[in-house]
Amino acid sequence: MAYSEKVIDHYEHPRNVGALDKDDSGVGTGMVGAPACGDVMRLQIRVNGQGIIEDAKFKTYGCGSAIASSSLVTEWVKGKTLDEAMAIKNSQIAEELELPPVKIHCSVLAEDAIKAAVEDYRKKQGGAPVAAQPEMAGAQAAH
């Protein structure tokens, strides 16, 4: 399987690998797994008082595409609002990384992980989950 240069770059120099304190009220944690291959991913965000994501970390036990997808998403979400982060689509990830169709589930994992992280953060804030905003064009130009 030939990986694109962008995948290799993220794979060899993953951005934002690590963990944030999951018990911190300002941190949202998303954990996801791929039944098709048995791989797992954790993606975390730290949100400031203005509702902006100021830090993101990930840990992915999976293939190169999954590592690159999660690495890319942590880069994309920094500086974004929660709704903007929620609007990220796996198709954007796959396009940016030029993933072949068989590797799509790996980018789906990253989309699911950021959504799960935002949901976890919102749940911690105790508020009723904010109604999903209509898709924002902003997320497209996200890098």
Partner: protein
């Protein structure tokens, strides 16, 4: 329904691949399940040794070499039967693939990539296992890895036990629960593969 030999009309056994009377290899039957091809009843709880013995015996009789000088149709049939027998052995001997096969037969694709894993506890456990393995690898701790492997083996035994119960009567009446167990097994199976890889890596370093 009893199949009969296309050449001499004698009754065929299970699988209906070779005629015991005239020795003719029968036209391949793509409609047969992997179990039927192996001449075994369709159960999850199967004895792998019996499966292997059975398949190897059938392979012997159907080996394409035995039909090297036969008519083209017979050569093709023997190749088709033995290819399918290989597949039956590979899939049915493995508790994971066997469960997946049986669930797929009733239209349940539990490992489909579009299925979302919604069990936070399962994900947490798997994530923790992987982190432990990573730490053990970094510390070059082979005995720690062996201990981890034993723990994971025990977990696998537990899940297979659950699958035995759930797939004891077919078709399974709790496909949701069986699917969840199958997914858990998939994560554990991948983890075992990763433990193998890490150990090899350490031993070769």
């Amino acid at each position: 329904m009893v199949d009969s030999c296309f050449r001499c009309g004698a009754e065929l056994g299970a699988p209906p691949a070779l005629c015991a009377s005239c020795g003719a290899v029968q036209p391949f039957r793509a409609d047969l399940s992997l179990y039927a091809v192996a001449g075994l009843p369709e159960t999850y709880d199967l004895d792998v040794q019996t499966l292997r013995t059975q398949v190897l015996a059938l392979q012997k009789g159907l080996h394409p070499d035995r039909f090297a000088n036969a008519e083209p149709a017979a050569r093709r049939y023997s190749l088709e039967w033995s290819t399918r027998l290989n597949e039956a052995l590979a899939i049915l001997r493995d508790p994971l693939r066997r469960a997946d096969y049986l669930l797929q037969r009733q239209g349940v694709d539990a490992l489909d990539e579009r299925v979302k894993v919604a069990d936070p506890e399962l994900l947490m456990t798997q994530m923790t296992y992987r982190e432990r393995l990573e730490d053990l690898a970094a510390a070059r701790d082979l005995s720690g890895m062996e201990a981890l492997r034993q723990e994971v083996d025990t977990a696998v035994t537990g899940v297979v036990q659950r699958l035995r119960g759930l797939l004891g009567v077919l078709p399974c009446v709790e496909p949701e629960a069986a699917g969840a167990a199958l997914r858990e097994l998939q994560f554990l199976d991948k983890l075992l593969g990763e433990i193998d890889r890490s150990e090899e890596h350490l031993q070769n370093a």
